[in-house]
């Protein structure tokens, strides 16, 4: 996208520092900047913190814990954005090693959130000397925070950018701070956008420069409202520059092993990706038609999981044609899985960028569903445009899509009409008016659009109070928990996935456990204890990625050729050879001698610490909830769409469907499933070492080596004897 050159930015504050060398994956330094005071400190990260929290999300939580009190709100200056990669972040030998994790108090959930992203920010800040960047305070005007790793300078610049929207900001800053075209790859920009100022769904866009396309690409730390926090601090962008990237930047102790393990995975990807997930051709949208086939593709606010009539319009083969092929689409050096697909030369049809030719990152599977089937839209180019504007305006595509799906259903239920929506027809599939609503949300002047941007949790209240909607129905169909909109899988028919979404640290996001196939199709988790075991292992294993700076996708979106015959079924799902790869590369970088069980222990420490952090921020009231639609049909048309299936489910529950009305059947199944939810919750809490209210016990903290006095104080404050198992 073209942009005008920006005027010189005045340096409001500048500090010099001496770049710390990286040793075995760590700089052992955190950069603290308060943009309000302003203040800068370089803080030591002690060995005890490394031992307990490893890095990445773990460092973010540890630093945030010290920055806030239990009464801190998301928009207090004390709230921070802490961005950290982890000890493996920035290696170039193994695919998927450019991830970083942003931790903050979320405006949506009012507790901690961690959101991960690719792009170059994580590696370049580490190479600039920092394992973590901690941003506090609120500026009194729009600013840009610049970490200049080349010159050892931290600057707060007065923004001269014409707007906060992401593509404008990112391209202008790559241009402004690069010496020439070739220098642009040495820069990464973190930005949000206009909708991060007007909604609570603000995302963080993290850039990398694509020299072949000659344009900046954007990856998103999408969820939880981190972009809203950024703009609340009046930060238009964070920028890092570091120009001497080498493959040995992390100073690993055993480069040879690192290279050997990396080459093995590169070869697997080269040989097998085309017959497995086709990530290099189509990325995560390889799932589109598969999810539809298994009744898992959210359709019309999760009412249904399938739309046989229209799936062909948005299947992976359609997107394969839309995505540019043949370009190496890795979002960090060395990622041969290369799933960061893009649509090039797309001409924008609506809004302020109308007529411009742009490169759009994505859409990924989640966006195909959220800004597609879930709102009844089966026009892939509309989804591409909505994806573009979501990124540009700085709004999370998942929350946006799930939120719009809720709005559409409210419209069709008659709770909303054109008088209330200021003239918009927001029934499912009304794509022109839905796009107009997205633009209005970014503009922030329309009262209805502003209400939508508060998120489903608050929308339920507003729609009931302002428009007289039936609050009980809204509770059933609003697909949120902990204030976070559900991501894009229909969880209704997998009891284990209820836990994968709703017994989680931060709400229904798909980064903890995806157990639908294991549970619902493979039938590998027949008992609540089996499900609880999976809901212990997988969330912890997935957490480990967030501690070290790795992407999850190369774990199991590619698997060794013999994985499916070499291991027993229960083990094969964990892809044991890749788990061993992670042990080997962690040891090769850090010089430690961990074994595979240690991955879980490392993660468990952080997982439990974060859970305790949530309990602290919620003053003890952090029990998990699940919306009715996540557990089964709410309305008769949902039941009737799979009548035989649901009648069978009722029989399995010991209730004969014969002679019952559909409404009675729905209530019968719901009653049974609520009992299952209670049993699941107990089994999971018990397996995790929590009490009946979901609070980690003092004994659990001791066992994991995280019984810090302040953590124990929280456990003691909220654990009551009557809640023990």
């Amino acid at each position: 996208m073209t942009h005008e050159k920006i005027a010189p930015m005045k340096v409001l504050q500048e500090w010099s520092y001496v770049r710390s060398p990286i040793d075995r994956g760590y700089t052992r330094k955190a950069l603290y900047v308060n943009v309000g005071k302003p203040d800068m400190q370089i803080r030591e990260i002690p060995q005890e913190t490394i031992d307990a929290f490893t890095g990445g999300r773990g460092f973010g939580l540890a630093l945030l814990w010290n920055a806030v009190t239990e009464d801190t709100k998301w928009n207090d200056p004390e709230n921070e954005l802490v961005i950290s990669g982890g000890p493996l972040c920035g290696i170039t030998q193994y695919p998927g090693a450019g991830k970083c994790y942003t931790v903050f108090l979320s405006p949506l959930s009012e507790q901690t959130y961690d959101s991960n992203s690719g792009g170059y920010w994580g590696p370049l800040t580490k190479f600039s000397g920092f394992d973590a960047v901690e941003i506090a305070g609120k500026a009194d005007r729009d600013v840009v925070l610049f970490v200049n790793g080349d010159e050892g300078k931290i600057q707060i610049l007065e923004s001269t950018l014409p707007e906060s929207n992401a593509y404008t900001v990112t391209e202008a800053l790559h241009d402004y701070l690069a010496a020439d075209e070739g220098d642009k790859v040495n820069i990464s920009v973190v930005s949000a956008g206009k909708a991060a100022e007007t909604t609570l769904w603000g995302c963080l866009n993290m850039s990398f420069y694509d020299p072949r396309r000659k344009t900046a690409r954007l990856k998103q730390a999408g969820r939880g409202g981190g972009g809203t926090v950024l703009r609340d601090k009046k930060i238009v962008a964070l920028v890092v520059k570091y120009s001497s990237v080498k493959g040995t930047e992390n100073n690993p102790v055993d480069l040879s092993t690192l290279q050997k393990v990396g080459v093995k995975l590169h070869k697997e990807i080269r040989d097998l990706d085309n017959v497995q997930c086709r990530m290099r051709k189509v990325g995560t949208p390889h799932l589109n038609e598969i999810m539809d086939e298994y009744h898992l593709l959210p359709t019309n606010n999760y009412k249904f999981g399938q739309n046989k009539k229209d799936i062909g319009k948005i299947d992976s083969y359609t997107y394969e044609k839309i995505f540019t092929q043949g370009l190496p689409d890795g979002c960090w050096y060395g990622c041969s899985l290369a799933c960061a697909k893009a649509v090039d030369h797309y001409e924008i049809q609506t809004g302020p960028c109308k007529g411009r030719s742009v490169t759009v990152d994505g859409p990924e599977y989640e966006t195909v569903a959220s800004l597609g089937s879930n709102i009844g839209v089966y026009d892939p180019l509309w989804t591409v445009e909505a994806n573009f504007y979501a990124d540009h305006y700085g709004v999370d595509t998942i929350s946006l899509g799930t939120g719009l799906a809720f709005v559409c259903e409210c419209y069709e239920l008659g709770y909303l009409d054109k008088a209330k929506t200021n003239g918009l027809d927001l029934s499912f599939g009304s794509k022109d008016d839905l796009m107009e609503l997205i633009h209005r949300m970014a503009e922030g002047t329309d009262d209805f659009a502003r209400a939508v941007g508060l998120g489903i949790k608050k929308m339920k209240k507003v729609f009931a109070e302002r428009y007289g909607a039936d609050g009980a129905v809204l509770e059933k169909i609003g697909m949120e928990a902990q204030g976070i909109e559900t991501s894009e899988y229909v969880p209704k028919e997998s009891v284990a996935q209820w836990g994968g979404y709703y017994l989680t640290l931060k709400g229904p996001q798909h980064d903890e456990a995806w157990l639908i196939f294991m549970d619902m199709v493979n039938k590998q988790l027949p008992t609540f204890e089996d499900k609880a075991e999976a809901l212990h292992y997988f969330p912890n294993f997935r957490t480990w990625f967030s501690l070290v700076g790795l992407c999850k996708l190369p774990w199991n979106d590619i698997e060794p050729a013999d994985n499916h015959v070499r291991y027993r079924p229960q083990d094969a799902a964990r892809v044991p050879e890749h788990v061993q790869n992670y042990v080997d590369i962690f040891n090769a970088v850090t010089g430690k001698q961990i074994v595979k069980e240690d991955l879980i222990t490392m993660a468990e420490r952080v997982y439990n610490f974060q859970r305790l952090f949530q309990v602290r921020m919620k003053h003890g009231n952090a029990e998990h909830t699940i919306p009715a639609r996540a557990m089964g049909p709410v309305f008769p048309d949902e039941w009737d769409a799979r009548k035989e299936y649901y009648d069978d489910k009722l029989r399995e529950a010991g209730i004969a469907p014969e002679g019952l009305s559909v409404e009675e059947k729905i209530e019968g199944l719901r009653g049974h499933r609520l009992e299952q939810w209670a049993d699941l919750k107990d089994a999971v809490y018990k397996r995790r070492g929590w009490n009946k209210k979901g609070i980690p016990t003092e004994e659990t903290l001791k066992k994991l080596g995280i019984a810090f006095p302040e953590a124990v104080a929280v456990a003691k404050k909220y654990c009551r004897p009557e809640d023990e198992f």
């Binding site: 017959v275 497995q276 997930c277 995560t284 799932l287 038609e289 598969i290 086939e293 298994y294 599977y365 798909h510 980064d511 995806w514 157990l515 196939f517 294991m518 199709v521 493979n522 039938k523 590998q524 999850k552 996708l553 199991n556 979106d557 698997e559 994985n563 499916h564 015959v565 070499r566 079924p569 094969a572 799902a573 892809v575």
Partner: protein, 65 residues
């Protein structure tokens, strides 16, 4: 009759693993198949035949996200 993931499925002579997968409408590519606790290579799904009363596990590996 054979049993696939705990559910009965009509069997016919010469039925292959791939036909079992098709009958169950399992369209996911990352499948692992075990017939009576013996694994079957993906390359052999189209030729490996199953016998009446075989117990078959068709496992969908996790991916995505």
């Amino acid at each position: 009759m054979i049993v696939v993931n705990g559910e009965e499925l009509p069997w016919h002579p010469g039925m292959t693993v791939q036909q079992v997968i098709d009958a169950k409408r399992y369209t996911f590519r990352m499948l692992a198949v075990w017939v009576n606790d013996v694994p079957v290579l993906r390359e052999r799904f189209a030729t490996h035949t199953v016998a009446d009363r075989d117990r078959i596990q068709v496992l969908h590996m996790i991916s995505g996200g």
